[in-house]
């Protein structure tokens, strides 16, 4: 293959026909409140782990919903499960359960981070 000094880039488009739904389905089956997220971001604003790192639980949830699991493992491991988000969520999402389900789901489906 010839090198022209540039290459095609992978499309950033999310194709809803081709979403990895394993994790989101597993979470929703066990915690239907997960779908009630409004992306308000209050969980992320109060987050203990977010105060120490770049952890963003709102963004991560969104990425999981879109089947973008490239860095889920690395990210979710930052959560300390302290439960502040649980108290903050305006829609009563069982955030701690969601986190545990993400962790377990990644294990069950053997989803690894992309290096």
């Amino acid at each position: 293959m010839r090198n022209f000094g540039f290459s095609t880039t992978k499309s950033r488009t999310i194709d809803y026909g081709d979403i990895d739904r394993r994790l989101i389905s597993y979470i929703l089956e066990n915690e239907p409140t997960f779908n009630a997220c409004l992306s308000c971001g209050s969980c992320t604003a109060i987050c203990s782990a977010g105060n120490l790192t770049s952890f963003n639980i709102r963004k991560l949830s969104l990425q999981i919903r879109l089947g973008d699991l490239e860095k889920t493992h690395e990210e979710i491991d930052k959560c300390m499960l302290c439960g502040k988000c649980l108290l903050e969520c305006p829609r009563g999402i069982n955030t701690r359960n969601v986190v545990m389900l993400i962790k377990k789901g990644l294990t069950i489906f053997e989803i690894k981070d992309k290096a």
């Binding site: 293959m1 000094g5 540039f6 290459s7 095609t8």
Partner: protein, 355 residues
């Protein structure tokens, strides 16, 4: 697809195209990469349609590429465009026929600007006068050259020697039409059929017997995008866009692509070669790639012009498969002969794309 609905939209976007007496504005990309297309256009207008069209050697680039690359200031490009108008005025003409879609977009934009800001027009008159002592009238009608062909598509159909039909099966050829972004996306009312469902090429294809393929990325840019190509570091972005388009049209098995913008024709042609070299992919079933024609070349083929006179040998994706389908007779040996019958140097064979 509801054709009635589409026709309703087309009815809402019919523009006035001058009948005769055009001042021809050439295109930088077309004259460099598809010079025979310009020749073909003038021949069709003069010989087939018996129209008066002036091709003034004094006219220059519109500087559109420089303008869209942030090199040429807006006042400068307005002055350059004003000079073209002055050449038109000098020739005693009132109608512009613009070969390039980028230029067409720029002319349209500038005329619209002058309409809304007459003081700007006065300023440009002053600039032009100071620089060249020239004066100018505004054109009464401006049309893209594809608009002109569109206007006379039925006359061309009457004179047609070939149809856009697979001679063996009798089925119409599947044609992907691609409209340059600057043709109607900025001023939908200035394009035939509007911006969402342009009719300009569809009209030609349908009246010459072909079948237009609608595919999801039909409106997507060809990938040129000026700076995205001109800056080498950005070319990956340019080619990725073309790839997206090609991938989207592939399932429809198009027999060829036709574009009204010279840049689009060039990029969809050349990037097929680059993609094949880089990734080993082709977008037809047999590995030859999808031929890309300008509308002038398409009209020329329909009118029975010699494909080598139309410059089809200069394309990256070779057109023999299409010529065979249409049943056009051609001399393979004459492919690389110059106009005096001497052999030209042969192009290097691509490593992936079949020729």
């Amino acid at each position: 697809m509801n054709i009635e609905g589409k026709k309703q939209i087309w009815n809402a976007y019919q523009k006035e195209i001058a009948e005769n007496d055009y001042f021809y504005a050439r295109s930088c990309i077309r004259q460099n990469f598809f010079p025979a297309s310009e020749v073909a256009f003038l021949r069709i207008l003069r010989e087939e349609l018996h129209k008066n069209i002036i091709d003034d050697p004094n006219h220059t680039t519109c500087t559109g590429i420089g303008y869209h690359s942030d090199i040429v200031p807006f006042d400068t490009i307005q002055t350059v465009v004003a000079r073209q108008f002055s050449l038109m005025t000098q020739a005693g003409l009132e109608h512009m026929a613009i070969s390039c879609v980028t230029s067409f977009g720029i002319y349209t934009e500038i005329l619209d600007l002058w309409h809304h800001f007459p003081e700007q027009l006065e300023k440009i008159r002053e600039y032009l006068y100071k620089a060249t002592k020239r004066e100018f009238n505004l054109p009464k009608n401006i049309a893209h050259t594809s608009d002109v062909i569109y206007k006379f598509r039925n006359e061309i159909a009457e004179k047609a020697k070939y149809k856009l039909v697979n001679k063996q099966t009798g089925e119409p050829l599947n044609v992907v039409e691609h409209i340059g972004c600057h043709y109607a996306k900025m001023f939908p009312t200035k394009g035939v059929g509007g911006a969402e469902f342009p009719q300009v090429l569809v009209g030609m294809i349908e009246s010459w017997g072909g079948n237009v393929v609608d595919y999801p990325e039909r409106r997507h840019c060809c990938g040129f995008g000026f700076r995205n190509y001109l800056v080498q570091a950005n070319r990956g972005y340019s080619i990725s866009n073309t790839k997206k388009k090609l991938e989207s049209m592939k399932p429809y098995k198009p027999d060829f692509i036709v574009a009204n913008c010279p840049g689009c024709a060039m990029f969809m042609d050349k990037w097929q070669y680059t993609l094949a070299e880089m990734e080993g992919v082709t977008y037809d079933e047999n590995g030859y790639g999808i031929p890309v024609l300008t509308y002038e070349e398409m009209a020329g083929l329909v009118l029975g012009y010699n494909p080598w006179d139309l410059g089809l040998q200069m394309h990256q994706v070779q057109c023999e498969s299409l010529l065979d389908k249409m049943g056009i007779e051609y001399d393979p040996k004459a492919k690389y002969l110059d106009k005096n019958g001497n052999q030209m140097p042969l192009p290097e064979k691509p490593s992936c794309l079949k020729v």
